[in-house]
């Protein structure tokens, strides 16, 4: 219960931060040269002055910045995210359409990165300075240093074009309408390459952290005590070392939730996935302020929610954390 109070306080504290982020972004975007009508006319390939003036009037771009900011915040109080200039429908709806793909991609990438990173990290730590460690560490370095768009394109080249095993892009098959499990399998099939691509860079980070963390824990007294008591090696690793080594890993999930949203822009673009990252990019290019602010709002909520879950996990892993607050 105390934990929920803590989370509630955290959430309340996040509100002013959210407000500052939104107002700041709003003002920052006013500095970008060009507005949504410029972007629109660019897409149309030109137009004449009266039409352009009418469109400016229509999108209310002639109002002063303070009036528009005031308007926006007032609408936000009513939980109204406004209207998207690109899609001509409510921003909330546009985001709701795009959120599932991003959540799926983020969730599965995080899960893979975490699980595989942990396994490799433990393995490397157990065989420290021997060949498995060298191999895993080198691989981790390569994954970390390679840009994800390159991995994505190579993945497409090898698995889609050359071997013809996986689809080269898209979220699901559209030639056939699938339902139930068949559809789930189809989406999973399409998301395989993007998920692996997005997870590699994070996998490398988890691997390094897990390895370091395991090595650190292994020198601690309670591990020596456990060994001295005659606890089996597997039990030492799983019950004593792993649980303690997991704390920094869990911290990282909270930190990386935001980074992952950023990374998904590239992956969603390369694999033509209808996600939030690509929507954000498109909104910047098209100067669609409402949509961009809406995405920032939703992403901030997402990061807050993930951190809340991380807090819960902390308490599960280390009861002292819940106790001290």
């Amino acid at each position: 219960m105390r934990l929920f109070a803590l989370a509630g306080r955290r959430l309340l504290a996040a509100l002013p931060a959210l407000l500052i982020i939104l107002a700041g972004l709003f003002l920052l975007l006013q500095l970008a040269p060009g507005d949504t009508v410029d972007a629109l006319v660019a897409q149309m390939g030109g137009g004449d002055a009266t039409m352009i003036a009418n469109l400016r009037e229509y999108y209310r771009l002639n109002d002063s910045v303070s009036v528009r900011l005031g308007d926006y915040l007032w609408r936000l109080v009513h939980l109204d995210l406004g209207h998207s200039a690109i899609y001509g429908k409510p921003v909330a709806l546009v985001i709701a359409e795009r959120l599932p793909a991003t959540l799926l991609l983020m969730g599965s990438s995080l899960a893979i990165a975490f699980a595989v990173g942990m396994a490799f990290g433990v393995l490397a730590a157990r065989r420290v300075n021997r060949w498995p460690d060298t191999l895993i560490s080198t691989l981790g370095l390569v994954f970390y240093a390679t840009p994800s768009f390159w991995f994505g394109l190579m993945g497409i080249f090898v698995f889609a074009i050359w071997l013809d095993w996986l689809p080269s892009g898209g979220f699901e098959s559209i030639d056939v309408s699938l339902h139930g499990l068949a559809r789930v399998a189809d989406i999973a099939w399409h998301l395989t390459l993007p998920t692996v691509t997005l997870s590699l860079i994070f996998l490398a980070v988890y691997l390094r952290i897990m390895r370091a963390s395991m090595l650190e824990v292994s020198t601690q007294d309670f591990v020596r005590t456990a060994r001295a008591k005659g606890v089996g090696e597997t039990a030492v690793v799983v019950r004593h070392m792993l649980r303690n080594a997991l704390l920094p890993m869990v911290t990282l999930i909270g930190l990386q939730a935001g980074t992952m949203l950023g990374g998904s822009v590239v992956v969603e673009t390369v694999f033509a996935l209808p996600g939030l990252g690509r929507l954000a990019y498109e909104s910047v290019v098209q100067r669609d302020l409402n949509t961009l602010l809406g995405i920032v709002f939703v992403s901030a909520l997402l990061v807050i929610a993930i951190n809340f879950l991380v807090d819960l996990l902390y308490a599960r892993l280390d009861p002292r954390i819940a106790g001290t607050h």
Partner: protein, 532 residues
């Protein structure tokens, strides 16, 4: 090349093929019904209504669903679509169209002259980019009966100009759906209703648009295809991959990277072609800001053009896809002045002497003066040309600083704030100089309108030629006026049309009857079919 020609013949006339290419198997010369054509769409569209938004991105999708009054044939001549015939009065102020009978909208209501009247007065004249200028002097549209429509103009309207323009700017959407609504927010803008061979099915944002066969299409028995699916793939490499894996069969209007276009030319599964896209030609441009003292001197502008080896640029940066332009009218146009040559060929010595003559001698470090260059980024070639200009001008003592913006920012900097000295961009020629080319030269455009004369340049002579040509109804006189106009602007060089280029399609060899008219990717595809 011979393979391309063979394919083209195969797709245009089976008989011809039988006679000329006896080695080809005949089993599939008979059109096959059925199949799904998957098409690459490089950018998401805000509005799927060609009566509100004139752009190739909109046409690629909507021209299958919504039809215009006329279309173009393989030679670029206007042919009937929703209009069956047309006549112009002797003074050129009254143009009468006969409309096709028995045409129904996808919602079952009949298509009549009242639909055309509404589109012309409420959408084309008030909302549609390019058409608001084209229809500026349209003051009334009469509907004497359900299948006759009479356009009345205050000034003479050349029939050839109107027809050529209507292929792109004459799409008709249903009056009963749009009338008395907020036109910009009408739901039919993203779920279009038309008279075309395909009916709209769904638009999944960020993913795809689907249209299916219209069983009640007025061309009986057509279309051949069951469905057309447009896949939205914004990344150029991903789009190439989608082509290579067979996920899409067509990518039109050069939406792939130049390197991939060049590579796919060698792939036997595809045809890379510009034939069938002649109605849209474009130029790489160099815009001068006349508010800069040095650039207002014609000798300096000529020197700049003399200093740039555009042939080298085309061969090495554009994979040879293009040629040096001779002026604002492309060589494929009927208005092209015969025998034109690039007016200022590459000649650095001449460039240097012109600059010396203008009084800009080389100063410290060999630099004469410094210019700020803004690339208007709507293609990968634009920044390439910017860099090439920078390096070329350095040779003759002009230092160039490149200032990067994204497209909205660049349009703002060049066309609203005039915060540039030179700019590199694109110009698209749309069938007739009066549609979207002369606005680059005609003075008097209010600031902020992109791709219009915002350069601080004004010539009464050129303004008059432009105005006269726009209302001249004798085609021969009109051509002569444009020839004079080309001469005048080549002389004064307010803008340099650096290259003349065609758009390219990459299309799977399974697609039959493809590219059989001058704007095929923007036409209705009623007779397109797929080999099994």
């Amino acid at each position: 090349m011979s393979a391309n020609r063979r394919q083209f013949l195969l797709s245009t006339g089976a008989l011809l093929v039988t006679a000329a290419w006896p080695t080809i198997s005949f089993s599939q010369t008979e059109p096959r019904r059925g199949g799904v054509l998957n098409v690459h769409l490089g950018s998401e569209q805000r509005i799927l209504n060609p009566s509100l938004r004139a752009s190739t991105g909109v046409y690629i999708v909507t021209s299958k669903i919504i039809e215009s009054l006329v279309d173009l044939d393989a030679d670029g001549k206007p042919v009937p679509q929703l209009a069956t015939s047309w006549t112009s009065s002797a003074d050129g102020k009254t143009i009468t169209f006969k409309l096709r009978e028995g045409v129904k909208w996808h919602d079952g209501k009949p298509f009549t002259s009242s639909d055309v009247q509404y589109n012309a007065l409420e959408l084309w004249k008030k909302q549609l980019n390019f058409a608001t200028a084209l229809q500026l002097y349209l003051h009334a549209v009469d509907t004497p009966d359900a299948h006759t429509v009479v356009f009345r103009y205050e000034r003479p309207m050349p029939l050839d100009l109107l027809l050529r323009a209507l292929a792109d700017l004459g799409y008709v959407v249903p009056r009963h759906v749009y009338e008395k609504t907020n036109v910009l927010e009408n739901p039919a803008n993203t779920a279009p209703i038309g008279t075309g061979p395909f009916r709209f099915v769904e638009y999944q944002r960020g993913q795809h648009i689907i249209a299916e066969r219209n069983p009640n299409y007025w061309r009986k028995g057509l279309p051949y295809l069951d469905r057309v699916v447009w896949r939205i793939i914004t990344d150029k490499s991903a789009a190439t991959a989608a082509l290579e894996t067979g996920q899409v069969q067509l990518s039109a209007y050069s939406q792939l990277s130049l390197a991939d276009l060049d590579r796919l030319r060698k792939n036997p599964k595809f045809e890379v072609r510009s034939k069938g896209l002649e109605a849209n030609v474009f130029n790489n441009t160099l815009e001068f800001n006349f508010r800069r003292k040095e650039l207002s001197d014609v000798r300096v502008r000529r020197a700049i053009v003399h200093a740039i080896d555009i042939g080298f640029f085309i061969d090495n940066f554009l994979y040879g896809l293009g040629k040096p332009a001779t002026g604002p009218i492309p060589s494929s146009s009927s208005f092209f002045p015969k025998g034109s040559k690039p007016p200022y060929p590459f000649d650095t010595k001449r460039a240097e002497s012109l600059l010396d003559e203008a009084g800009y001698k080389r100063g410290k470090g060999g630099v004469r003066f410094t210019l700020k260059l803004v690339p208007i980024q709507n293609g990968e070639d634009v920044p390439l040309l910017a860099t090439f200009v920078q390096q070329s001008l350095e040779q003759v003592g002009i230092k160039v600083e490149i200032v990067q913006y994204d497209i909205a920012g660049a349009l703002n900097a060049v066309y609203k704030d005039a915060a540039f000295d030179i700019a590199t961009g694109w110009h698209q020629y749309r069938g007739d100089p009066a549609v979207s080319t002369t606005v680059w030269y005609r003075s008097g455009s209010p600031a902020g309108a992109p791709w219009t004369n915002q350069y601080g340049w004004k010539s009464d002579k050129v303004d008059k030629l432009i105005d006269d040509a726009a209302t001249e109804i004798d085609p021969a006189k009109r051509r002569a006026l444009y020839a004079d106009w080309v001469k005048a602007v080549n002389e004064d060089l307010p803008i340099w049309m650096a290259t003349e280029r065609e758009f390219y399609s990459v299309v799977s060899r399974n697609v039959q009857n493809g590219h059989n008219n001058a704007r095929w990717p923007s036409s209705s595809w009623h007779d397109t079919w797929l080999k099994a």
